[in-house]
């Protein structure tokens, strides 16, 4: 498959680009909800609009009422989300949770997917335990209890957890903390007794929860995939999330870069447009190169994921790491090249820096993923 968008994908990109630039614009969404200290961190109306566009069910099989598209297409939407810093439940609900639900029973799919597709439901995922992403280790326990399970533990960085109608929780049904086996995924409804959210606002104005599961009782049919055999579903879900976050990061990087290059063409100092200064030109050109490369490997990872290729997981880490570095460079250069006004809340460039930081941390930062690339490569 060639590493560029085919005609259908280009059409989708145009649609998504126009939609996000209009409906998902910074002033209309991010600043709007932020300045109102919205407890969700996003707007439900926009989510509903995204459903009308078909975006919400983009990865859901047609048999389940979705569009049955792939990660390339999801990535197209995410890149536009990133470019406009549009807060929405798309990444967690339509990419990550949807990926897990794709492996779920007919019953669970029937219970949750229609709400997702309609833009009525929001899902979250609870993976991390602690401040750094270490999915190899899961301590949250799910003990057999009657026909079902009883979950106890603590999860962190549950993005949009308190707004979610259902949370996909990774818990341990057997084995020790860092065993590969013995992990099981659960679909935990928001009203489950014993579920407690400590919701905090993050630097990018999004909301995330410290989630406490205090003996949360679930039926056996809340299990996604196999009991004790959830590692593979979990890995696939996480890979989907990483590649999705990478795509959004590419959008953040490109958005920040575009703003900055525009500024270089407008701002005058010392009687010249600052874009005439060669030192800035070279830095901008280097940045362009890094962002292009990050975008290429992200599309590559999307294609591999869609093809179910063996090296998809490796390439997901490469993409997450590369985008992490490139987008971080883009926002740092962006603020620096904007100078003083780049430091003000009034200008948008700082919002890119904030979003990049949160996104970089989500599902593993560049350090984590570079280390993972080394491990998967055998060194």
């Amino acid at each position: 498959m060639p590493l560029y968008h085919d005609d259908d994908q280009t059409m989708l990109a145009d649609t998504a680009s126009q939609f996000m630039a209009e409906e998902g614009a910074i002033a209309k969404q991010l600043r709007h909800w932020r300045d109102r200290e919205c407890k969700d961190g996003f707007g439900h109306a926009l989510w509903k609009q995204m459903a009308e566009m078909g975006f919400t069910g983009i990865l859901v099989p047609e048999a389940d009422g979705g569009l049955g598209m792939g990660h390339v297409e999801a990535g197209i939407v995410l890149e536009e989300i990133g470019r406009n810093l549009t807060p929405s439940p798309f990444l967690t609900s339509s990419v990550i949770a949807a990926s897990a639900l794709g492996q779920a029973s007919d019953d669970l799919r029937g219970r949750y997917l229609p709400g997702l597709i309609a833009g009525d439901s929001v899902f979250a995922v609870a993976i991390d335990e602690g401040a750094k992403h270490r999915p190899e280790r899961i301590a949250t326990r799910a003990e057999k209890s009657g026909n079902g399970f009883r979950l106890s533990g603590r999860k962190d960085f549950v993005v949009q957890g308190a707004s979610a109608d259902m949370i996909v929780v990774a818990a341990r049904t057997s084995g020790a903390e860092d065993d590969a086996d013995g992990v099981t995924l659960f679909a935990v409804p928001k009203d489950a007794a014993g579920l407690d959210h400590d919701a905090v606002r993050l630097v990018d104005s999004s909301m995330a929860s410290h989630l406490t599961l205090d003996g949360v009782e679930l039926d056996g049919d809340a299990v996604i995939g196999e009991v004790d055999g959830g590692r593979e579903v979990l890995s696939r879900m996480i890979d989907a999330g990483r590649v999705g976050a990478a795509a959004e990061g590419v959008g953040v990087a490109r958005g920040a870069m575009a703003m900055t290059v525009d500024y270089l063409k407008q701002r005058k100092q010392f009687g010249k447009l600052i874009g005439e200064f060669q030192a800035l030109q070279h830095r901008a050109a280097h940045l362009y190169s890094e962002v292009e490369i990050a975008r290429a490997v992200t599309i590559k990872a999307q294609q591999l994921l869609d093809a179910g290729a063996q090296n998809a997981s490796l390439m997901a880490s490469v993409a997450k790491a590369k985008v992490g570095k490139a987008a971080s460079l883009a926002v740092k250069e962006g603020v620096q090249m904007h100078g003083g006004i780049g430091m003000t809340d009034e200008y948008d460039i700082g919002l890119y820096m904030k979003r990049d930081r949160a996104l970089a941390e989500f599902l593993g930062d560049a350090h984590y993923h570079a280390g993972r690339v080394a491990e998967l490569s055998g060194y």
Partner: protein, 387 residues
Amino acid sequence: MSDLESFRAETRAWLEANCPAEMREPAQGEDDAYWGGRNATFQSEAQKAWFEACRDKGYTVPAWPREYGGAGLSPPEAKILREEMARINARSPLSSFGIWMLGPALLKFGTEEQKRKYLNEIARGEIRWCQGYSEPGSGSDLVSLQTFGEDKGDHWVVNGQKIWTSYADKADWIFCLVRTDKTNKYQGITFMLFDMASPGVSTKPILLISGNSPFCETFFDDVKVPKDQFVGEINRGWDVAKYLLGHEREMISGADNSERGAGIGAMLKRQAGEMDPVLRAELAMFDVDALAFSAMGEKFLDEVKVGKAHPAQPNMMKYAGTELNKRRHELVMAAGGSAALEWDSEESRGGSAARSWLRTKANSIEGGTSEVMLNVIAKRILELPGA
């Protein structure tokens, strides 16, 4: 006992008697500082007592002459006072742009009359000053400033806008660069002084990406400034400004050296427990740079003391120090993970990590951007052509 030894003994005794215990605790933030001025209030009795003792002794500005409100200390005496204050962690009795910036300018360029009036007011904490240099259109290219003072015989009428005026909303007076000759770029600027209560002056605080800030936008709308309120010569304010900029840059490059020079790997390991090996490697590389820069800071200060430092070296220190500090906070964020992303939770102390990280991004912009620093190094130290 030599004179200096006895001065040290006296100083130690005076501090013992006059510096309250509370004033020997580390300050918790900028709010703990006393800034003086017409509307000043003290945070505590101790703060008031300490300020007044210092003011009366001339210790708010120990090295200034007595007639201007100082204690007239010689350089070695001033150093002893600094050392003795550091020994007991005594806080600074008075924070003031008057002391740090206007004072040095007046001492060099002011008339005797100006010195007597303004320096005494500064030393006694009676007038709080702010600085009006930058404008929206003139950042790095400061000399392109547009705020204009029209000559009306015995006064100017000033119109324009300043930005990044720290504490403009709290200051009593401003020292301000105003264009008074549109035909001469460098020799058409006057270093004016005027009351912030003058009709036509208004201020608006600037919200930063890191949150609230002391910075303001300051607007001048037909502000009348008497023709005797300037420093140096009319149209020669750029000389004063340049002198002060050098002063400021040296302050910035010397400041915080202790914090900036320390390694952070061990501290972050203690906080984070386990650590990604790639992050550990980056921290190790950072610590190498930080410890090396700490030696550089020491060398620079040693050389400054004996006049061995290249006059443009502060630019290099500012460049390297601020870039290092930005990297430091990137790594603190990385080690802190999702906990460091929190923006207003109690556990994160109101987003302290994230806000500090964002705030450091201004380090390489304020007081001369990294790009300007590199230009200056290329031109004045490496003597590259056309730089």
